[in-house]
């Protein structure tokens, strides 16, 4: 084999390099692939550690979807927030409930529905609805904190350590 053939082989190898399994295994780099970020992970196995190629599932961020139902639902949420701020708790609860029926994947509507229940003293219901809000909004750092804060207030009130919080 002369140098010309070596050179051509090397060129072909370089072109194929990105798809080489050896590269994939040893590179250990995060790579964007369709559907999510790929990384390697090691898990303990019965016969020794097992190296896995893992992809994080990137589903739709339900907090930020745009749809006519979402837009309508958010307007109703705004109406409910107004009622909540005026102390019209029963009306607000009814309004937030309608917002949720308009768009059952609107985590914001669930959050405020939970809030209205909390302010009416319905702690168990509030907690359950917060779980739903969290499932829908949890990927957003801001909402994670807001939800946790309300959860804390509910727990405290249920324990009797923070009465009358609004």
């Amino acid at each position: 084999m002369d140098m010309k053939h070596v050179g051509i082989s090397a060129l072909i190898g370089l072109l194929l390099f990105p798809s080489c399994s050896w590269y994939e295994r040893t590179a250990g780099k995060m790579r964007k692939k369709e559907g999510g970020t790929t990384y390697t992970k090691q898990v303990p196995g019965e016969k020794g550690p097992v190296k896995l190629e893992v992809q994080k599932l990137e589903g739709t961020n339900l907090a930020t979807i745009q749809s006519p139902q979402r837009a309508a639902s958010m307007r109703v949420v705004d109406q409910g927030r107004g009622e909540l701020s005026r102390g019209q708790l029963d009306a607000a609860l009814q309004t937030f409930q309608e917002a949720v029926t308009l768009d059952g994947s609107n985590g914001v509507a669930y959050y405020y529905l939970a809030r209205a229940h909390y302010q009416l003293g319905h702690h168990e219901q509030a907690m359950g609805l917060l779980e739903r809000a969290e499932a829908l909004l949890g990927k957003n750092a801001g909402w994670e904190l807001t939800i946790e804060a309300l959860r804390e207030m509910i727990r405290n009130e249920a324990d009797g350590t923070n009465p009358g919080a609004t």
Binding site: P44, L57, T101, G104
Partner: protein, 787 residues
């Protein structure tokens, strides 16, 4: 002093008799003296008789007066039936009004299609690129809504924008009031909505008085002049052309007395009328009349009072009636059914015009109002074809109401009950069930048992899983045939639709004794175990064994053997716990047959349990009743959405992903040929000996369960895919369309590269690879051993 008329009467009578029997001293006889004597005797007897009659009359009048006061002072406590309403409907830009069948909904709500402009609440008009609606006023549970005119602009059939016609303001969302779906009557079947004098336009009061009792404000209960006038008019006409009864007498006749036609009743009526006039104002009497007068029929129920008549004939509140409409209703009093505009529009128009002419002649309406009213076309709301919609759903709601309130309260106190029902989808559901079952009987007649006594039955329930709202409920193919509500009352074996709960247990590392993933392999190979002291052997529906199969394939294709084996491996008690956590309260035994759904449950229960799949592990409690409001507007009962996380979202997601494949290569693949192309997950169910055919399928925001079978558990030889799936497809295509919404991905699910043949971690020696979902923490712990 206590009055005892009877005792006084006896005393006087005794005295008179004594006086008449007393011996008189002998006198000289003379003719003049005899005549005087006879005259005095006559006067004494006559006077005595008058006194007796007077006392009797006083006693009778006193009795009638007490009776009238008792009846009247029950403050016109008419029995007002309670009403059950559907849920509201929101309209907003982006909504497809054709899919939501908006025009049909407006007709059901009693809106009148005017054809051109809209002028008053209850009018609507179709336009080339939209609809104009003058919204009804409506008392929502916590808010009074005053209607206003809106224009809904559409592009194709999708709303582009909504705006108020009066102010030009754009509206982001608009609410259509709930539909009246049922009225809860007592035995009298009287329907009325109470009104006060102030709530009724002057034109109505004037029309009534002019037509029925022109001298109402001048007489005191009975009108001798009116009686005389009517007498001569009837003689001239040689028939009963006029009545001489006053409004007060009519009220007395309708409200206090029975319908017996007799002289004695006429006397009673007149006396009570006089008493009423003495004790009550003209206003009180007129108001009672407005609420008591009979004004027609709505099916089997009778409509009384102007309040309900305004709704029946014009779909309006009484205060919104025009002069022409007032004239018609007043004119109808004489013969409501003869002059009903539903029956004979021309006769109704003529009668209306007669009254309007009288009003004009009496200068009670000016020329402008007169001409406008007399030329006003009679536009009526579409008559409701059925008086009770969604009968099975109503029965279900009534059962809950009876637990809260006695029947006497429900049929008499005018409660308003607001529910979760979506009437548009309910009608689709009813059609899906009735057509679906009829089609099965026709197309598969050879499979069904010959000359079977009972009809093949079907049932459907649709729940919004994110809220638990029951949107449609059909308990059978025909309510008139049988009121047995198969969604709620029947207990049937769920069969294979229970299997997802087995797999959920298996996928959850915190539940099963053995953790598997959809890509794990399991043996679909025959086996036998002891169960209840007897040998038990599962069999597949195709009578075959499939060897080692992936867990995904076992669920997708509903293999009994593999599923039963899996249930035993993960622990039957764990499967029971999973079912309980999902909300199944049926009697569950931790035996191998449990895995194949060999227990009884209602369709409602199993559908509610499935909400955990649509909601990634959160269960929504089924809800049908939202609000109960008293006649005075106070909230008596309010029920809210209740949700609780029962499962880790990761394993639930894995099950849902496999159930999606049921439509794509699994037992429900035929749904695609039937025209359903949306993203959904589901499971077919067929019980032993083909006694039940089930299908439960869901998108992230709709969950629908269908069932087909015989009430007596006879074999019908149809699987879930053949029997129940077509009804499901019909409903989902019409009500939901091809939803492309994906199920949300939880945080703790990852895709791992595996070898598809072994289901283990991929190595470079494996010729193929796929990325398959796993719950984090339960990824493969072995490399592929095959390559």
């Amino acid at each position: 002093m206590i009055c005892h008329p009877r005792r006084h009467l006896l005393v006087w009578t005794a005295l008179l008799m004594r006086w008449s029997n007393q011996q008189k001293p002998q006198r000289k006889k003379s003719p003049l003296r005899d005549r005087i004597r006879r005259l005095v005797r006559l006067v004494k007897w006559g006077g005595g008789l008058l006194i007796v009659l007077g006392i009797a009359g006083a006693w009778y009048t006193h009795r009638l007066s007490r009776f009238a006061e008792q009846q009247f002072s029950r403050s016109f406590r008419w029995d007002i039936p309670s009403k059950i309403y559907s849920d509201v409907e929101y309209l907003f830009p982006g909504l497809d009004i054709k899919r939501r069948r908006l025009q049909e909904k407006l007709d059901r709500l009693g809106y009148r299609n005017t054809g051109d402009g809209i002028h008053s609440p209850g009018d609507y008009a179709m336009r080339p690129n939209g609809i104009e609606i003058f919204l009804h006023h409506f008392d929502y549970p916590l808010q009074k809504f005053e209607g206003f005119p809106v224009r809904i602009a559409v592009s194709g059939s999708v709303i582009d924008h909504i705006g108020r016609i009066d102010s030009g303001e754009r509206i982001a969302t608009m609410r259509l009031e709930p539909e009246l779906i049922a009225t809860l009557f007592d035995d009298t079947m009287e329907d009325r909505s109470l009104v006060t004098l102030q709530e009724v336009p002057d034109a109505c009061l004037q029309s009534i008085i002019l037509v029925e009792d022109e001298r109402f404000f001048r007489h005191h209960g009975i009108d001798p002049k009116g009686i005389a006038r009517a007498f001569f008019a009837n003689v001239r006409a040689l028939r009963i052309a006029q009545g001489g009864s006053t409004l007060t007498q009519q009220l007395v006749k309708n409200y206090f007395l029975d319908s017996e036609r007799s002289f004695q009743r006429k006397i009673k009526e007149a006396i009570i009328a006089l008493i009423i006039e003495q004790k009550h104002s003209k206003g009180e009497i007129l108001e009672a009349y407005l609420n008591e007068i009979y004004l027609g029929q709505r099916g089997a129920s009778s409509v009384f009072g102007f309040g309900e008549a305004a709704r029946l004939y014009f779909a309006k509140e009484a205060r919104q009636l025009t002069a022409g409409e007032c004239a018609l209703l007043a004119g109808m009093i004489r013969a409501p059914n003869r002059y009903s505009p539903f029956r004979d529009k021309d006769a109704a128009a003529q009668r209306r015009n007669f009254v309007l002419n009288r009003l004009h002649e009496a200068a009670l309406v000016d020329d402008t109002v007169y001409h406008s009213a007399i030329t006003e076309p009679l536009i009526l709301p579409k008559q409701r074809e059925r008086l009770t919609n969604a009968p099975y759903f109503i029965d279900f709601v009534r059962t809950q109401l009876r637990e809260l309130y006695p029947d006497t309260q429900l049929s008499a106190e005018g409660l308003r009950i607001f529910t979760t029902l979506d009437m548009t989808n309910q009608l689709i559901a009813e059609q899906a069930v009735s057509n679906g079952v009829a089609t099965l009987e026709k197309d598969y007649a050879t499979l069904l048992p010959k000359d079977h006594a009972g009809k093949l039955q079907g049932a459907l329930i649709n729940i919004q899983p994110q809220t638990g709202y029951i949107r449609s409920l059909v308990g059978g193919r025909g309510y008139l045939d049988t009121q047995f509500n198969r969604v709620v009352q029947s207990q049937r074996q769920p069969g294979s639709i229970f299997k997802p709960f087995v797999y959920l247990t298996a996928f959850d590392p915190h539940r099963g004794e053995e953790v598997v993933a959809p890509t794990s392999y399991i043996y679909d190979v025959g086996f036998q175990v002891q169960s209840g002291g007897k040998p038990w052997t599962p069999h597949n529906y195709d009578k075959k064994e499939h060897g080692p199969v992936s867990v995904r394939e076992a669920l997708m294709k509903s293999y009994n053997i593999a599923t039963a084996r899996l249930a035993i491996d993960v622990g039957l008690n764990n499967v029971v716990k999973t079912a309980r956590d999902a909300g199944i309260e049926a009697d569950l035994q931790a035996v191998p047959a449990l895995a194949l759904g060999a227990f009884e449950v209602s369709p409602l229960e199993i559908a509610s349990a499935y909400t955990i799949f649509a909601n990634n592990g959160i269960r929504a409690e089924p809800l049908s009743l939202i609000h109960v409001v008293a006649a005075d507007g106070t909230t008596l009962k309010r029920k809210s959405i209740e949700m609780k996380r029962r499962f880790d979202p990761g394993p639930v997601y894995l099950v849902t992903q496999v159930l999606k494949d049921v439509f794509n290569g699994g037992t429900a693949s035929s749904a695609r040929q039937m025209g359903f192309h949306g993203i959904a997950a589901g499971k077919t169910g067929t019980t032993n000996n083909y006694r039940d055919a089930w299908f439960v399928g869901f998108t992230p925001d709709q969950l629908t369960l269908t069932w087909v079978g015989y009430d007596d558990n006879a074999t019908m030889n149809m699987s879930g895919a053949r029997g129940a799936l077509p009804m499901w497809v019909h409903y989902m295509r019409e009500a939901v369309g091809d939803s492309q919404q994906e199920f949300p991905v939880p945080n703790n699910v990852v895709l791992v590269k595996i070898d598809p043949e072994s289901g283990k971690a991929w190595t470079k020696r494996c010729p193929q690879s796929i990325f398959a979902p796993f719950v984090e923490g339960s990824e493969p712990t072995e490399h592929c051993p095959l390559h």
